[in-house]
């Protein structure tokens, strides 16, 4: 029995208790999919049972389907939330619910799970289609995005984690879901499961499929993309750091961060091709590039030399704790240092180690984006204060 977004009112819960007493001897269970499970309802009781749950608005037929999206609290109530996981889940639930009757059975059985940040409380990593919240800088604005994670296994005791494919602006995620599921229906072979489909088609093809959806119109064309679900607050033009002397430096940093994501994606393709060792090296190179991007925001003259980048990153971002996540501390930077050691020592990487390292590389790059956005906001605030001071002088 589905609870939309895992929510139930006190009246519904009291009624559920009554229903449990009436049909299943006082016992019910909550599930990891944020639903309620009644066990051992006798077949003869099913019609009455259905009428009873329908009467309290919980008779929807979409439990354990793609419509039944699971989400963590996200920005609604969680201080760690980056993007609105519940807002996205609500929107997906609404849009998929409208199409529910016409959905292909293979699509209907998929699971979508959403986390508001990399901490994965929404269990996006074991969903067919998972999302976790990140932020990206677009044209000088912070824009809520979700990292699209595909191919996680919900069955087989969550036997496999999904793999990040692309960062898509939050407001374009419903289109991304549509695009992925339609592609699956068109391209799958016989009864091919979604995980097998993702593995066969390959991440590059899916990334290409989503490429258009990673772009959004300029803020003066459509500002809705610069807001999150259920929150109309937008960034204003005053938030743009137009005309600052740091402009060129910022764009260099952003350029490097974007490049690092492309490189990490290449690393994933290598891993898919069974080249774990090469994948690890490529992932480390992507991390190095992200670190260099950050360093460039403070020292534009930094060279491409590995030692110099690592030393500068350590001195300017790790030792100063500028890179530190408010809650995770220096963990993401340590992934970078560990990857460096691993590659430098020439250790052999089996597939499991390579998967782990690539996931850590993704988290490092996300953290680099986060750090860059924080610093940029600080610079812009300082410039505004300075401008205001000059104006009033």
């Amino acid at each position: 029995m589905t609870l939309p977004l895992g929510d139930a009112s006190a009246d519904q819960l009291r009624a559920l208790a009554d229903i449990a007493r009436r049909f299943v001897k006082d016992t019910l269970r909550t599930t990891v999919e944020q639903n309620i499970l009644f066990r051992w309802v006798s077949e003869a009781d099913l019609p009455e049972f259905y009428q009873a749950i329908k009467a309290i608005g919980l008779g929807a037929a979409d439990a354990a389907t793609i419509v039944d999206v699971t989400a963590c609290p996200g920005t609604d109530t969680c201080k760690l939330g980056i993007a609105s996981s519940r807002g996205l889940a609500r929107e997906l639930r609404y849009r998929l619910g409208e199409k529910s009757l016409e959905l292909d059975a293979a699509v209907k059985n998929l699971r979508i799970k959403v986390s508001g940040c990399f901490n994965s409380c929404g269990q996006h990593h074991v969903a067919d289609i998972g999302f976790y919240g990140i932020n990206r800088n677009v044209k000088g604005f912070q824009v809520p995005h979700f990292q699209v994670v595909l191919g996680g296994k919900f069955h087989d005791n969550a036997g496999e984690y999904g793999v990040p494919i692309a960062a898509v602006p939050s407001k374009r995620i419903p289109e991304a879901v549509l695009s992925i599921t339609e592609y699956y229906v068109r391209q799958r072979v016989k009864d091919e499961r979604f995980q097998d489909f993702v593995a066969r088609i390959g991440k590059k093809a899916i990334k290409d499929l989503l490429e258009d959806l990673t772009k959004i119109p300029a803020p003066d064309v459509d500002r809705s993309y610069y807001t999150d679900w259920g929150d109309p607050r937008e960034f204003t033009l005053a938030d743009m750091g137009v005309g600052e002397c740091a402009g060129e430096v910022v764009s260099q940093a952003e350029f490097a961060l974007a490049a690092s994501e492309r490189e990490l994606f290449e690393a994933q393709l290598l891993l898919d091709g069974g080249r774990s060792q090469d994948a690890v090296k490529a992932a480390y190179a992507a991390m190095l590039h992200a670190a260099q991007g950050l360093v460039k925001s403070q020292n534009p003259a930094v060279s491409d030399g590995e030692n110099e980048i690592v030393a500068e990153f350590t001195r300017r971002f790790y030792d100063t704790q500028l890179f530190w996540d408010k809650y995770a501390g220096g963990k993401f930077a340590e992934y970078f240092f560990k990857a460096r050691e691993f590659v430098r020592d020439g250790k052999a990487a089996d597939a499991d180690r390579a998967v782990q390292l690539l996931q850590e590389a993704q988290l490092f790059i996300d953290a680099a984006h986060g750090c860059h956005n924080r610093l940029r906001a600080t610079v812009e605030t300082a410039v505004k204060i300075e401008n205001a001071a000059q104006a009033s002088a």
């Binding site: 939309p4 929510d7 009112s9 609500r90 639930r93 259920g230 929150d231 109309p232």
Partner: protein, 199 residues
């Protein structure tokens, strides 16, 4: 009985249906227009007869509530209030009415929705202070009756007790004659600020 965590729900009369989600942007507008009085909006529009759309302030909630299958404006005092029970009731009413009146006048709603002031519910949202027993009910009624009597200028009223003992102590109050918004406000007479506290 000490009255705390008082909730008041004024039922809605809709000339045209207003989707719950319309209140999200509207309440966000209140956040932006106020200087820290309100600070968040919670969306429960996906729920059946749920809390609807909730505007969160540090000391109280304001919401378009659909509990019980009847839409209404719910004011829910969270922070503890000082004073006598009658003073607390007056403060909560004052703030609830001000917020309700403001919502009703929102241009975005184009007067599609209004709230009844001749029929409302008062709930005590604290089971420790106010368990739902006959004893609590009698004490609660003894406080409410004179207050509502003053509020409606002595017009006859009916009081109906919440019948489900598992729910919180609640009274539904109905004036036997029509009451408009100005009347209750003029009879409340307590000076309250937007935070539900006395200035």
């Amino acid at each position: 009985m000490e009255l705390q965590k008082i909730e008041i729900k004024f039922f809605a009369v809709e000339r045209e249906p207003v989707p719950l989600t319309a209140f999200i942007d509207l309440f966000h507008g209140w956040i932006q227009a106020s200087d820290g009085v309100y600070h968040d909006v919670a969306d429960y529009s996906h729920m059946h007869q749920g809390p609807g759309i909730v505007l969160v302030a540090p000391d109280f909630y304001v919401s378009i509530d659909e509990t019980g299958g009847r839409r209404g404006f719910l004011f829910s005092q969270k922070a503890r209030l000082e004073g006598s029970n009658q003073e607390r009731l007056a403060r909560v009413f004052q703030t609830a009415l001000e917020n309700c009146r403001r919502l009703q006048a929102e241009p975005a709603l184009q007067r599609k929705i209004e709230f009844r002031f001749d029929e409302f519910e008062i709930t005590l949202n604290d089971r420790l202070l106010a368990p739902n027993t006959d004893e609590s009910y009698l004490e609660f009624k003894a406080e409410i009756e004179p207050f509502v009597g003053r509020l409606f200028g002595g017009a006859p009223i009916s009081l109906q007790q919440e019948s489900d003992a598992r729910r919180r102590v609640r009274l539904r109050i109905q004036a036997m004659a029509p009451v408009d918004l100005a009347a209750p406000l003029s009879h409340v007479g307590s000076k309250a600020n937007g935070r539900g506290n006395i200035d």
